[in-house]
Symmetry: C3
Subunit: 153 residues, 3 copies
């Protein structure tokens, strides 16, 4: 069994960003020198996610709008009455008592999931025609890491 471990650090300009990383993952597979196996892509933080979906800006904007309703931030006004009702009773997260304001980003991490595992076949990520891999930053403007772990033969 061969393996390869690659770390990537993000420090986004915006608080929330979607960053395409398909090519980074393929690079880690190339370096591993495997033909058959798997590539695990996992955010090392609890306010970020990894999402496999379409590289289409309209969809990305839809998804960010929807995430702000289902997992509402308290650092800005809720999007609508449903978002307001999904905030904790009293309007703010208990998690913020420690000085943080990123409670919503923890719930977005839960929804999106912090990782994906990609099949590798004949040395290539075995993805469908529209599948791209994204690092999803929900609480950026600070240094955060992602790990790519490839195993196979």
């Amino acid at each position: 069994m061969k393996s390869n471990t690659v770390y990537r650090t993000f420090n986004t300009e915006e608080r929330r960003e979607l960053i395409r990383i398909t090519e980074d993952v393929q690079g880690a597979v190339d370096e591993a020198g495997i033909s058959e196996g798997m590539a695990l892509v996992s955010a090392m933080h609890i306010t970020a996610g990894v999402w496999v979906n379409d590289d289409e800006p309209g969809l990305h904007a839809d998804t960010m709008e929807w995430l702000d309703k289902v997992a509402p931030p308290s650092w800005k006004a809720p999007s609508n009455e449903v978002a307001e009702a999904l905030l904790p009773e009293g309007g703010d997260y208990r998690h913020h008592r420690g000085g943080e304001d990123n409670g919503d980003a923890h719930l977005k991490n839960l929804l999106v999931h912090h990782q994906a595992i990609l099949p590798v076949t004949e040395g290539r990520l075995d993805l469908g025609p529209w599948q791209q891999v994204f690092y999803c930053e929900f609480d950026g403007r600070r240094s955060k890491r992602l790990v790519i772990k490839v195993i196979g033969e």
Copy 2:
């Protein structure tokens, strides 16, 4: 390390369907000839999911009803006021500007997750008593693929 890769193509009659695939995954494990390892089951499309849960029709109907509220379609009337409020501002997905009408299916893919990875022990999928594997089609009536990747020894 041994590996085996199996593709399965679905072309559902209905727009949305849950299809049990536990037996397909066990078949891919058998073909791989492994005793210990893992089986990755991953939709190759961005409007489908893989779900491990109970093979119980009432639960499946509950889940589809709930998914239509939390990730509402715009190609039919919203289920209720909460579903309406979870649609994008203005009532339709930006993603539909390109001619699609499956924005909700992308969000259902996010919720359900597009993949699962199953442990293999002594040559069998190491699942609990009620765990079955389902391919979840949210935008069918067209040819769509799933990949099963088994690795182990």
Copy 3:
């Protein structure tokens, strides 16, 4: 390729509990005697989950409150009007016709996801500074199992 399979059984006092299992997973890695690989952590039941997040009680309470709104139980009054609207039409789950009352726990399993896969590097779980692994019980007070499967070399 080496492998190690460890089962852990939970029988919680409360109906819902979050139980930290990071140390159990590291123990299974140690026993496997691998340096590089992956550890799959998977609930063997369909009303439990595995979550990688912060070990912070405020966050845990926030998450449980939020899960009860998005995936509402019918064995107690809904948290608010949004939770009520996310219950099935008629107010109860079809799944309960068989005598169960845990429909919400199946949806929480879907949201949280029933598994996570952790990278192993130089013999250690390759987690970020605040990442801890939790078994999430949503329908406890009965014996339920989790499987940890480690593969690597």
